[in-house]
Symmetry: none
Subunit: 209 residues, 4 copies
DNA sequence: CATGAATGAGGTTTCATTCAT
DNA sequence: TATGAATGAAACCTCATTCAT
């Protein structure tokens, strides 16, 4: 991956035609597949194009460079998880804290589980140059919803809730990531959920008091 | 016209002369420095050698390939953190749970803080091929000591303690990592420690009951 | 940071466009030329590419590694010689032994003479890793045709004919190679042919009796 | 193998002391061993020195460069074979031609057999830059003795005998080399000798008439 | 004399990206 | 628009040779 002087990371064009949309989608899917089957190290633009059934040239019509490709994948994945979290939070305003915690954890964990493989592959590329920015956006969106939810349940200061949300989100993410990375059997996933609930209940009770 | 090599990750030779000991250390230090200043992506063997003030050839006399270089850094870092954790655990057998939790958290967090920059850089390269193995070893060593400590404080089943240790270690690591990655001001570090203590106390009380 | 490759010696892709057919041929020719002008020792992929008027990258689009390049040249050369031998043998079934011997020798020698320089350069690279396999194939093809021919002229056991063919083929090859290596003036070539005829006639008469 | 501007191929010093002689011998032996065990491709000066139990520096005290090392080995090997041939020839002056032929063949083949492995390894390095010169010397010495021998048995012109000797020597060498290279079982060696005798008798009878 | 650490040119190979067809 | 051949900078790694100790 060469370092382009001024990287452009947005898709080059907004597809409006039928064919373009299909092509973009095929490239997206191919990227995920190559990521899963070959790993980030072996992911080359030519390989992705081949898997997508198009030529490299075509790939570059829609993504100005390799990074934008990976960004697109990462962005969509994070977006899906954030969506789940936001929905769960919005649906549980004014509920008891215990309910909120469970809903938040389940939403996050289930979203990750649904794309477990993709998620695993993406942990790695997220570290690459400037992937942080996307992760940051993802975190902001999620935290905003989480904070909003907990504010309907607790008189604690916004600042306090904000840090607690940030902190808990990070801890939860770390636990899930590690379980995924060390091999996630159904039994282990089950225990993970249990302990997340336990952790969440215990933590938020302390944190909001 | 090369011949098929087999990747070896151990240092290539044990220095016998005075000079080479200094060289190997210089290369190690240079690796850390380049990692910090340029990032893993921009870390090349030539750059490391230059920074160390030696030629590439010399580098390859001591490290058979680029990976072994990164391994050495990762290994030493993880070893130091594990050492700190193990020491803290051994020193707190038969203490109250609250004391144990605080000791564990502080040991881990302080070890990480001491090499915060290095730690940050290493999160990224650990994902690389087989870095997992080192991380796995690190986790095993740490968990063994943690489990041994908590067994002196609780009649809970070993299996339960083991999972709790694994889970908490992962959550704590995730929280710390995220704080490091999002910029760790002293104030934030302070809050982090507080909330880790809170999280730890709340979680272990639940988990061991 | 490379991943463990597995050596492949077959050409990498089949050209579909007009342009690439020309390119692959240019690279092939350049390889022969560099081999002749610089010797196998000085043959580098960059040099070959330059001589071919393309970039190294292009070279590697068609030949997966340096060896495959040399293989291609060796294979074509050996193929041509084998073709000549096979044709000569097939055309002389049921002829007198003297005729057979002369035909065989002339076919082999003339095929070698036609590409004398190439042949000379190839003697050297054939020794390289696994070049043996190609030479072995070449020998098998040739010997099969030779044995088939002599069986139409002699009641000797197949086993006897087979060894005689192998032995004579080797002796003939050695004599020709040495003459080529020590400088082959037309006069010397003339004598060589004469003595090969003499040797062949004398040997096969003994061997088949 | 870099190309030194003005290669010096003679051993750097003539060893007179005890230790030096032993060292030179050890290096020589190590070279052969490395050649056999690792092949010419993997033969490095450091490896040879290690196998010899000395440092590279010491190696370079006795051999000015890598080529001179290989030359020494090649030279000694060829010398031994030439010695055997010369002795056999000198011992068979004025014998019947059949006796001469058998003696010559047996001397050559046995000398090669005695160092079959070394011989095989050396075929390859002899092709390297300027190995030809040594081979040429070897051939000259051998041919001189062969010609001298046959002149005591035949009134044929010197020129005729000379070419016949050259030609036969080459054919014999080629046959032996090929057998060695294709795997020389005792049975195959036995047949080889038989057919060499047959070839030799038949050829020289024709050639001297 | 011996040692072996250091050198660095040079070789092979990859892959993001461009552009003529 | 799509194609895929071509590019070439840049990375990794080797190894003959030197020279301070």
């Amino acid at each position: 991956m060469k370092a382009p002087p001024q990287p452009v990371l947005q898709p080059r064009k907004t597809p409006v035609q039928q064919r373009s949309t299909a092509t973009v989608e095929a490239i997206y899917e191919a990227t995920v597949q190559v990521l899963l089957s070959s790993g980030a190290e072996r992911l080359t633009t030519v390989r992705v194009a081949q898997r997508a059934g198009v030529s490299v040239g075509t790939l570059y019509q829609y993504y100005p460079n390799k990074q934008s490709l990976l960004f697109a994948v990462l962005e969509r994945h994070l977006g899906q998880v954030a969506d789940a979290v936001v929905r769960a939070c919005q649906a549980n305003h004014h509920q008891p804290v215990a309910t909120m915690v469970t809903a938040l954890i389940d939403a996050f964990l289930d979203a990750k589980l649904k794309k477990r493989e993709t998620s695993l592959a993406l942990y790695r590329i997220a570290s690459d140059l400037d992937g942080d920015r996307l992760v940051e956006n993802f975190r902001k969106r999620s935290l905003k919803a989480i904070v909003a939810m907990f504010r309907t349940a607790s008189p604690a200061s916004t600042e306090r809730i904000e840090f607690a949300a940030f902190f808990f989100f990070a801890a939860m993410g770390g636990a899930i990531r590690t379980v995924f990375e060390t091999g996630a059997s159904p039994a282990k996933i089950h225990k993970l959920r249990e302990h997340l609930h336990m952790l969440g209940a215990a933590y938020w009770t302390s944190a909001l008091s």
